[in-house]
């Protein structure tokens, strides 16, 4: 019982940064922009988030610092790809390299410091319910926020006019422009949202996951978030399934390794990737015809004036 509870708690914790970063990237890509710099925005968010929390002693200010840092990074990307119409793939890769270097610089003084991790919710009686109490009523604020965010993004994309316009920009920017929508402005907002989410996802790691900062602590989570968006066929529901599945298999294989199961550890370590790919591929086989990717993804748009 205790073990199951512990596993589920750690699954939620491991999945949350992936879900946050992937949600942001989903919105960015739905507007037609491919930002490969998620890893870079996350790691800068982690360094700035930890710094903010360390200096002020407040998790909320730390999280806000992470958001601002991620957004600032995304603005560099937006200035290049939207303003100067530079190739998005190259710019995204450069952004990741920049972010890794920058976070090392910012975080150099923070290594070895500790902060108080983000508090967990506590509701008398409810949190004490066996098994589900701590899982449902005892998480930190990031977990609740990430779930609310993916639901809100789904609502925005499919139930509001703004979401329709955003999807339209990603499907055919020439048509969107011809109808009078400001493609570049909409994409700018989408890129900034993606940056904010990645920054927050990065900040989650030192603020809640481990209460200290080490360089390179995102450890490829930004790339996994990118892959999740693709395998989820750009659909929010599948994205949530993919993120939690990945988190779950990651934790389970750790427990399996710990228990000394007679399977090579290298194979166990690769399980999360295999499981996520297989499940999401099976899910996307269900849809017949129509393209799943935003048709204008990764293409540069220069309006004619």
């Amino acid at each position: 019982m205790e073990l199951i509870e512990a596993i589920i708690l750690s699954v939620l914790a491991a999945s949350t940064p992936l879900l946050l970063a992937a949600t942001g990237e989903l919105v960015t890509e739905r507007s037609g922009v491919l930002n490969l710099g998620v890893e870079g925005m996350m790691i800068v968010g982690a360094a700035c988030g930890f710094g903010g929390a360390l200096l002020t002693g407040s998790t909320i200010i730390g999280a806000l610092c992470g958001i601002v840092a991620g957004t600032a990074m995304s603005l560099i990307f937006a200035a290049m790809t939207l303003g100067l119409a530079v190739n998005q793939v190259a710019t995204g890769l450069a952004l990741t390299i920049l972010g890794i270097g920058l976070s090392g610089l910012i975080g150099a003084g923070f290594v070895g410091e500790r902060i108080t991790p983000a508090p967990h919710l506590y509701i008398p009686y409810l949190t004490s319910i066996p098994l589900i109490g701590r899982i449902v009523f005892g998480e930190d604020a990031f977990v609740y926020f990430s779930i609310a965010l993916i639901v809100a993004v789904w609502w925005f994309l499919y139930r509001t006019r703004g979401g329709l316009i955003l999807r339209a920009c990603g499907d055919n920017h020439v048509s969107a422009h011809a109808l009078g929508y400001s493609v570049l402005k909409i994409r700018l907002y989408a890129v900034m949202f993606g940056g904010a989410c990645a920054g927050l996802a990065g900040a989650y790691l030192p603020l809640a996951y481990t209460p200290f900062f080490i360089p390179g602590m995102t450890a490829g989570r930004g790339w996994i978030a990118l892959a999740l968006v693709v395998f989820a066929s750009w659909l929010p529901g599948r994205l949530a399934i993919g993120a939690y599945l990945f988190g779950a298999v990651t934790i389970l294989q750790l427990h399996a390794q710990g228990a000394g199961v007679g399977i090579p550890s290298q194979f166990l370590s690769s399980l999360p990737y295999l499981a996520t790919v297989i499940v999401l591929v099976l899910l996307s086989r269900a849809r017949t015809g129509g393209s799943t990717a935003p048709a204008a993804l990764g293409t540069v748009f220069v309006p004619d004036r």
């Binding site: 329709l164 999807r167 055919n172 020439v174 009078g180 393209s291």
Partner: protein, 523 residues
């Protein structure tokens, strides 16, 4: 100026829309040079001109998509400045775009909602969509996604979307370019009804017969300037064409007699699965094309023409070599280069990116298709002199106009680049030429040159396969015409018997009555 407006409407009221000295400059290039036009209610006003004459620039300015550099627009006699299309729509200006402004992966209702500015809920929009589409006889299913629809249905979305704004003035940019003759007739009924409702229509087209039939007034643009305003019903197609081109267009002449020789391109029961989700499956396609013969393939775009071209050119290979036979040799499994060595040549529809590499020089582009035959490559090295000579020969034979001897492909105008591509292939003296949309988006002068070249090639003994959506073009140059629909090819009809009505029926998926089909097969 000729007075072409109905006298009854000429009260003291100013025109609905008027442009005064409208000018649009891109750098030193004048896309629109001091254009005055007047649009009156209850009139269909044609805007005629060759590609690059400035038609699109003018309507983009009227729809608020671009800002004029000089001059002004007046709406009901008052000065109008538009900051964007939504302002134009708010005043009652609607537009139906040439390359549809639709979103393939969104539903019909969502596409319509994107074109409306109001605060209507999706539910109200869907209800009003059904109401407007049934009122004008333009049936649409709001829930379907656009990629599932035919070209005609897509255009219906555009028209219904424009009508849902209840426009006073509707602009249509080449609306019939992709329609079957029957679909075009239905469109004309709708347009005449809109006219009777008191709306003004600006109708852009280069199909002159259509303009004569439908329009009350015509404004003709050439090189960015207004050349004339006239009553198209009082003109002939030839006189309108003269005004558009600014000179006579060469008549295309077929040789009196052509020798029909051996089969040079034979397709046997070709079936091919599409390689992308929006593609068309080719189903049991068979035909035989002999030397000295030109076979036309008609059909609305997206019915498998691209897939057939890919299968013939070798861009997609077939499992069964016997499905494509070139010069008596089974070639279904052969690569593009090996098919070229057998004497085949291919001109795809898309000039930039498919027919040529846009950022490479013409000589390099000549090498790309010419290396298989001829002396352009010697011992693995490129013979630059030979590639340049090919460019010069194509330039001379086909009157390709360019700024320097060997420019980048992308720097040529559409017509000149197409002449170069066709010239490059014809100069190889192919036994079989497969050409897709040879004169799409090409000005009338260049189109005449290209059609004449195809006829001359057939006279010289080659087999020519022409895919086109332009029925006039097909009836002008082909001997037989087959129609492609949903990946199937009809039996070819002799061109003399292929009336617009018959072809239109086939293009819409109906079959001719059995007696007719038997007779056609026997011919």
């Amino acid at each position: 100026m000729l007075d072409t407006t109905p006298a009854a409407l000429h009260t003291d009221a100013p025109p609905l829309l008027q442009t005064v000295g409208l000018t649009k400059r891109y750098g030193s290039f004048l896309a629109n040079d001091f254009i005055d036009i007047e649009i009156w209610p209850q009139q269909i006003h044609a805007l005629l001109g060759e590609n690059g004459a400035g038609k699109s620039t003018l309507v983009k300015a009227i729809y608020g998509l671009i800002q004029p550099s000089e001059g002004e627009m007046r709406w009901h006699g008052e000065k109008m400045v538009l900051s964007g299309p939504s302002e134009a729509r708010a005043r009652g200006i609607g537009m139906v775009f040439q390359h549809f402004s639709l979103f393939d992966n969104l539903t019909v209702a969502e596409n319509v909602a994107l074109g409306l500015d109001g605060r209507e809920s999706f539910k109200d929009i869907a209800a009003r969509l059904e109401q407007v589409s049934s009122l004008y006889g333009l049936p649409l299913d709001p829930k379907r996604e656009v990629w599932q629809l035919s070209v005609g249905e897509r255009q219906r979305i555009e028209i219904v979307r424009a009508l849902m704004q209840n426009p006073k003035f509707l602009i249509l940019d080449e609306p019939t370019a992709v329609l079957t003759p029957q679909e075009a007739d239905q469109l004309f009924i709708v347009l005449n009804r809109l006219k009777d409702e008191g709306r003004a229509i600006l109708y852009i087209s280069h199909k002159l017969e259509e303009v004569k039939r439908l329009c009350d007034t015509a404004t003709i643009l050439r090189g960015g300037k207004k050349v004339a305003t006239c009553n198209p019903k009082a003109e002939t197609a030839a006189s309108l064409a003269r005004m558009m081109v600014g000179g006579e267009i060469k008549e295309v002449k077929a040789a009196a007699s052509r020798q029909i020789t051996v089969p040079r391109l034979v397709v046997n029961d070709l079936c091919l699965e599409p390689d992308d989700p929006h593609g068309v499956r080719l189903q049991h396609i068979s035909f035989e094309l002999r030397g000295g013969e030109i076979l036309g393939i008609a059909g609305v775009a997206g019915n498998g023409q691209d897939e057939l071209f890919a299968a013939l050119s070798g861009e997609r290979l077939s499992q069964d070599p016997g499905t494509v036979v070139i010069e008596g040799i089974a070639a279904g499994h052969l690569s593009i280069t090996r098919r070229r060595r057998l004497g085949a040549a291919f001109v795809p529809e898309e000039r930039l990116g498919h027919g040529t590499a846009p950022r490479m020089r013409l000589s390099e582009n000549a090498l790309l298709t010419g290396h298989a035959a001829g002396n352009m490559v010697q011992h693995g090295f490129v013979n630059t002199a030979a590639t340049l000579k090919t460019v010069d020969r194509a330039t001379e034979a086909f009157d390709v106009r360019k700024a320097k001897r060997d420019p980048e492909a992308a720097s040529l105008s559409g017509g000149n680049l197409q002449k170069f591509i066709v010239g490059r292939e014809i100069l190889r003296n192919p036994a079989v030429l497969v050409v897709s949309q040879p004169t799409w988006g090409v000005d009338a002068g260049a189109a005449a040159v290209i059609r004449q070249a195809l006829l001359d090639l057939a006279t010289a003994g080659a087999a020519v396969l022409v895919t086109s959506q332009d029925l006039d073009e097909l009836s002008e140059i082909t001997d037989r015409i087959a129609v492609m629909f949903h990946g199937k090819l009809s039996d070819p009809l002799p061109t003399a018997e292929a009336s617009r009505e018959k072809l239109g029926l086939l293009m819409g998926g109906s079959s001719l009555d059995p007696k007719e089909a038997v007779r056609a097969a026997g011919a």
